[in-house]
Symmetry: D2
Subunit: 149 residues, 4 copies
């Protein structure tokens, strides 16, 4: 596992790959900020997009699915529509059938981190939904997404 703090001191340099996601009006809740549950959608999307681009993950008909076993988020500063969010990703640990991802969310043109979080995914066979070894072509792409302190 990485030794990054996963707190409000994280910087853009601590993440290996970025996806900018536009926000939507309904991402905000009645308090005028992005609702906390939407952060997990951003986490999910940056992981899937990385795997689609670098490992040819096919979520619709491929042999592999990624099921979430655990996730969590710390909220440091509010984000809100219409500001786009830069979602930073790093791979923290590659296990036999599981991968731990860590994310940092940054408001566009802002250096201080708005939220930090992690997702622990288990790779499963699309048919049986039983855990499988993370495939080799995924491993090499995942390793390129690791950062060291």
């Amino acid at each position: 596992m990485s030794d990054f703090p996963l707190d409000g001191t994280e910087t853009r340099e601590n993440f290996a790959w970025f996806l900018q996601m536009p926000t939507r009006w309904i991402d905000n809740d009645s308090y005028g900020h992005l609702n906390n549950a939407k952060y997990y959608t951003f986490f999910e999307n940056v992981i899937m997009t990385y795997l689609e681009h670098h490992c040819q993950l096919d979520t619709h008909s491929g042999p592999i699915r990624c099921f979430t076993a655990e996730n969590g988020c710390r909220y440091h500063q509010a984000l809100k529509y219409p500001q786009p969010v830069d979602v930073g990703l790093r791979v923290a640990k590659i296990g036999n059938s599981s991968v731990r991802y860590e994310m940092g969310l940054f408001a566009e043109d802002t250096d201080s981190v708005a939220a930090t979080g992690f997702v622990l995914d288990v790779y499963v066979d699309a048919q049986t939904e039983r855990p499988v070894r993370v495939p080799d072509n995924f491993r090499s792409a995942l390793q390129r997404c690791m950062k060291s302190d």
Copy 2:
């Protein structure tokens, strides 16, 4: 009101302004396509983004809010994550306090329209929530978004 067909024969040329929106994994429902309710989120976002960029709409603290009085959608072809959606917009009618918008959704790099729809919005005062005349600076920007057959 425009005399466009608002059906499966609409083309990209029939729309005046476009916003590309990335899709998210949870936009798809269990049938593996974008869920019908999400199309209305795309409609809402293209309208708001146009107004933010061209009329300085401030959804958070501005004096004007747009409330939806009626909307509708026809689904011609399935859309699905991870394909981004090009959302075409045209203004069909500018009334005293209401505006009718018409939209066409296109899969990226595709000419045939996947969905067509309309939104009838009423402009209201942010404090009283009572209808107000569409402001002049909005009118000129809205007119630039009209198309004639």
Copy 3:
């Protein structure tokens, strides 16, 4: 098709079957009301729940799927969390492979209709996604959900 007005004069008596749906905090948008796109989720859920209870629709592994071809909504009065919503349903027309549903949304303990809408669904084969005739066991349950003026 039914000759009901589908406007702000609809009453609870005009609908044949009701489902009460609790609202969720994130159903509200920043304006403090249920977001328009969420109404379509309520429409979808009342239809599916009726079919699950009365026609044994199995959305996960059954032979039939319902794809939406067109839908629309008129918003008469705002609804908002935490008030539950009573969703009224009637079947307006049963075609060969399509069914038109009409809905009325009512705030709990309120007689005036908050929103009215319709959904035109096409029944398709779950494997081929091609239209099929509405099955007989669905037809009898759907007829019991029709109302006459």
Copy 4:
């Protein structure tokens, strides 16, 4: 903080208050299970509903708002529409301006826990959005929601 395990060994008896939440078709994602982000919506709703019923929390115009500082979830068994979810709540710790809640999600008529999670909320003034002491009327209701091993 409570010493409950917050893992797959949690039972219904470990929680002090329950809210049953119906699921919606679009809570499921393309893999046919409730999407992970929706669990946080359930967490949020059980907390808000408890506070509305027992502490007269008024999310729309009351003097207090609850902002989430941190949350997390462990997924033990899949949940899916159309099965309702029983959401169990206990208060784990009441601080000066923060409260830690712990939740267990159970499929209806099922004893084994499907997911466990926590939310750390900070109580803020609705106007200034600055932390405030958890009000006394909230404290007594929150204490009644605590469980001891």
